[in-house]
Assembly symmetry: C2
Homo-oligomer: 679 residues x 2
């Protein structure tokens, strides 16, 4: 059978053949050992492809001398248990890994290094991923929603997994995607939407053979497959009378279901669950809590080594806007902090990085530090739901770097990434009971020619993978890496221009959208795209800015507000509580202030609103001729696609600027000191 | 073939058998004459049904003595050419009409009068409809839109005409509807949406046999059938290279198409056209104007006696909110006034009653008085798009009465209804060249059990028909009539309660929604249901309120604003121009004023906003127990449906109150003098 949806031409992303030239022109020895498996075969295939294209040689051997080779890729019992070691000695570059997956990651480390991998001798450098699980979640549906489309919050066409109401016959796009993920060290993927609709629910049962085909495609790249499942499955799929986690029939149903899953896919990863959240079923209906709910599934998958990723995104989505004491930002902490210690060992609590919902600017979620006896995965969003729908250039590496590197733990002793990864910080006792969760994110790819709608959004997928491996990496350096791989051998102006457009594009997007951490102000009609200052102000969603003629912002202090700042460990509870120490960029998240309030930057809130929006649009406008100057220096189709998106970005940013400036002028009555037009 | 959509039980609306008791218990003589046709048969059927139920007698004769009868219904050559005459003489009630259709209308006049029709002798009373065409437009689609549903702006279930992608096999609902329309004198119906989509466009060609079946159902009730057609039909259906109205092939295509229509349905009415409006194709694309466009179709249908209803709802729906000089309210006048005199005699310009779009409160459209050499139909909206989606009690009779009775013509010499009907006013010269258009409206029925979603919204359909016949009728008296027919023999508390809820329900709806004629402030996400004060403020739709911290309203004056007031004849241009004479209820439509501006009522604008919203909600809340007290006194299912809707009305009105009050408090900073809560 063939799919009626034609697979479009596929852009090679950061894996064009030319990026393999330095390695491919060398004499390469691969020693995968006797248990190489499918990942070992991938390493061999990658090297074979490279040397065939670029004139090098490949030797595959179980035992061989490094003599007469420029590069040795070797699995060895003394190699690191995760990751790899790279050294250069006697003019030979050597990568050693404890298993084939580590070797694959080491191979791509050599590809990324390019000619530099074959320079001066250097001692061994160990590269280990901080987080044991580095996951991508797909919000793909099998069916196409009339409004949402097929991929919820997808901005890159249809699903690469599904077409015509079923898993695709032709999984070649998935294979190319798996190769991309493996190359940056992603090792887990959940292949369906956390909002589990009727058709998709059946992947867990009737659709298992198809899921197994997908898992077969990911496996050679060191990626395990997960499913999002509905807490309501026992009733919906099993015909049971209840989903109660304490009901023996429900427990038996989940156990039997898990048995069938692992019988079909022995290295299956586990389940991702969105329960009691935005209408999804959950344990609350039975008077049970989320530990009961998560452990129900955890016990079913434990015999198979499976893991349950249980999302902490639980809040009242039927809030009354009149009620200024209820604060959605508090919800996840209030729900989950009391449950710490009650989750089984194979439960990972999946926590969005901020307390609201993937905003352009939010403080880090205090939940991450509030459940030390629970495994935590921090959840990022690669797909640009609130950051321009992959129509806007918005390189998110710096945002994620800030989040992952934020020293959230008590007295700033451990970063978010450390907590999620189970890694110690300075002063952590050696016998500390550290629990490793992981890092996860919502993917941004679809069956679009360029994978991501906006070709430059490929950099977000790349940077996510690299930061999940090494949260301390410099995001601008990662961008540079991505440019080198994606545009190998390009004119230097390409690199220079891309840095010019992308390095600070997240801050630019922030500068023309909602100011100073106030969040939302997006258009509910257009799926969070474009401005609507009051778009959520009188809604049920719990996301308000409370702007009136005198001021704006949400008082979340302990002293006079919702008390949310009290959920933070020291010193953050005090830093955020006090106007004098609260950072400008989060001011309106934590405080309601008059328009005349003077920021640490020295300007008033209202003038900041006016200036930054106007300045940001001028900057975005300047990108158009800069990009235009690259015509002929990059692929024509890619150039045209980016140019088209930049036109829309200018239009949309202008709309943001004008609506936000006008809205606040009408409310505050304060003229713009710069004299620029307000409507 | 049977439809898969089951026809639900059908409420008899204002035609329950019991309403026919006074007539049905009499001895009735019907004289339809030799050319009675299907409408004559309907008269006979109606009387037979009534006397069979209620014990009277029916004599049908061509010539017979009135002796021994209580009621004589007679077609006579000397009867009025439209309408009928009723008199009572010698204890016999006599209705005389010039044709069977007039007789049908006279029959229902007797039904409405009830026992009063058989009281004291009285001289002949002539009843003629003011407007020659009294139409209902259906915005029904064949296909079901994923967001809009099947009926655009429909709030009463699916279409009564279409199911399963085609015209229904079972047209019994349409027959019952046709009977309702005939009973109140409606004589024209357009059976598909003016936004003509692909499937519906083919009604004009492939679907004609089905349209003929529908026409067969309307015909016995004196109702002619019309179609909405797309100006783009020659290209879309005919495969032509253009829709240019001056192209001979286009003209030939329309002529041939019209020939086929009338060959299939000899008494077909004509076409309704929405061109160059909200994305529909039109003559502008070919550099032609709307006279060219309308006359193209008019000449095709003229040989068959057909009429083209050409909508004047033409405006720029891609407006820039920053542009405060462009005024959507001006658009129809600016487009159509210059074309006066250029439309063929069988073109009727169909003009919405206000310059915007069926708002709760708008001034009357100046276009109606601006095209004296053009036939005009004024368009009302029975379906409650902007008036509560048939979830709110909102009796629109008083609104339409105000509109139809408004003395719009120069020096207030003729009303809107007179202009549309071609009727003279005081001082109109006898030889004046008056052109009759008609009155039309968007229907509010669907395949809902109660026809209209909200059972009390049946009164709107009823009142529309009655006002289209007699625009001078008292809308509260019409409501009383409707109550008597719909709840015959009910406890007096039913009548009293319904008057209490409904008489001023339009003003109540106005009082809790957008204030003082400012329009919109509705939620674009919910199809214009519920509040969203800034919902259209930064949109492309041209409907703004310009509220800032100091004031609100649209300056449409000639002196300082958009000049819209200058489109009105005297005295209205001056009345509206001047703050001192502009009526309170339209103040913000015409003027931008400070919140402290004192109304003619003596209160300030801001306090009016606060007070009226709070008072209106208190009133709506009082309706709940009043309706509850009718339990057992009206049909249980109807009672339950109304009770359910009242609960929603209270919720929604409260939301309106709180959002509007809070919005304006946050903007103005003026406290509510009454001290009632603001959030």
């Amino acid at each position: 059978m063939s799919d009626t949806t034609q697979t479009p031409p596929v852009h090679p992303a950061w894996l064009p053949d030319a990026a393999f030239a330095p390695l491919g022109s060398r004499r390469v020895l691969v020693v995968t050992g006797p248990d190489a498996g499918p990942v070992g075969a991938t390493v061999v295939d990658e090297v074979r492809r490279a040397v065939t294209t670029h004139g090098g040689t490949l030797t595959v051997a179980d035992l061989a001398s490094a003599d007469d080779h420029d590069l040795v890729l070797r699995v060895a019992p003394d190699g690191p248990d995760t990751g790899f070691t790279r050294l250069r000695t006697g003019g030979v570059t050597v990568v050693v890994a404890g298993d084939a997956t580590g070797l694959l990651h080491g191979l791509h480390d050599v590809v990324r290094a390019g000619e530099a991998a074959f320079g001066a001798d250097h001692p061994p450098v160990v590269s280990r991923p901080l987080a044991p699980v580095r996951m991508l979640d797909h919000w793909d549906n099998i069916d196409v929603h009339p409004v949402m489309g097929q991929v919820e919050r997808g901005y890159a066409g249809g699903s690469i997994f599904y077409a015509d109401g079923r898993v695709r016959e032709d999984l070649s796009r998935v294979a190319a995607y798996a190769r991309m993920l493996g190359s940056v060290g992603i090792n887990a993927v959940a292949i369906n939407n956390v909002n589990v609709h009727a058709t998709e629910a059946r992947l867990l049962t009737d659709g298992l053979a198809d899921v197994a085909r997908v898992a077969d495609v990911f496996r050679p790249h060191g990626v395990r497959t997960y499913l999002s499942v509905s807490f309501g499955s026992p009733m919906r799929l099993g015909g049971l009378a209840t989903n109660d986690p304490l009901d023996p029939d429900v427990q038996a149903w989940w156990a039997a279901t898990a048995d069938r899953v692992w019988a079909t896919i022995p290295d299956f990863g586990g389940f991702v669950v969105k329960a009691d959240s935005e209408g999804q079923p959950g344990p609350f209906a039975y008077g049970r809590d989320h530990a009961d709910g998560a452990n129900l599934l955890a016990r079913a998958v434990a015999p198979h080594g499976g893991t349950v990723f249980w999302r902490a995104f639980v809040y009242n989505h039927e809030q009354d806007w009149r009620d200024r004491r209820t604060d959605r930002a508090r919800a996840a902490y209030d729900h989950f902090a009391p449950l710490d210690g009650r989750f089984d060992d194979n439960v990972v609590l999946q926590v969005k990085y901020g307390p609201l919902d993937f905003q352009v600017r939010e403080p880090v979620s205090p939940v991450i530090a509030a459940v030390p006896r629970t495994r935590v995965a921090v959840e990022l969003q690669v797909t640009q739901e609130y950051t321009g729908h992959q129509k806007h250039v918005c390189y998110l590496g710096p945002l994620w770097s800030d989040v992952l590197g934020f020293p959230l733990a008590e007295n700033a002793t451990r970063t978010v990434a450390s907590i999620a990864s189970g890694a110690p910080g300075p002063g952590t006792p050696e016998d500390a009971d550290l629990r490793a969760g992981g890092i996860t994110a919502v993917s941004n790819v679809g069956d679009d020619e360029f994978w991501t709608g906006h070709p430059l959004a490929q950099a977000n997928l790349y940077a996510y993978g690299r930061l999940a491996w090494d949260p301390a990496a410099d995001p601008v350096a990662l961008l540079d890496e991505w440019i080198g791989l994606t545009f190998p051998g390009a004119d230097p102006r390409v690199r220079e221009t891309l840095h010019g457009l992308m390095d600070r594009s997240w801050l630019t997007y922030e500068a023309y959208t909602a100011p100073l951490g106030v969040c939302f102000m997006v258009d509910p009609l257009r799926g969070h795209y474009g401005p609507n200052v009051d778009g959520y102000e009188y809604s049920k969603w719990g996301t308000y800015h409370f702007a009136d003629r005198d001021g704006i912002g949400v008082d979340r202090t302990v002293a006079t507000g919702t008390g949310y700042t009290g959920q933070y460990p020291a010193p953050w509870r005090d830093v955020y509580e006090d106007l004098a120490t609260c950072p400008d960029e989060l001011l309106l998240f934590f405080h309601h202030v008059p328009y005349g309030h003077v920021l640490h930057s020295g300007t008033t809130v209202i003038q900041h609103v006016y200036d930054t929006r106007a300045d940001a649009v001028e900057l975005v406008e300047s990108w158009v001729p800069r990009w235009e100057a690259l015509r002929g220096l990059v692929d024509d189709r890619l150039h045209a696609r980016v140019a088209e998106r930049l036109t829309e970005q200018v239009r949309s940013a202008t709309e943001w600027r004008d609506q936000v400036r006008t809205y606040f002028f009408r409310k505050s009555g304060v003229p713009d000191a710069s004299g620029r037009p307000i409507y």
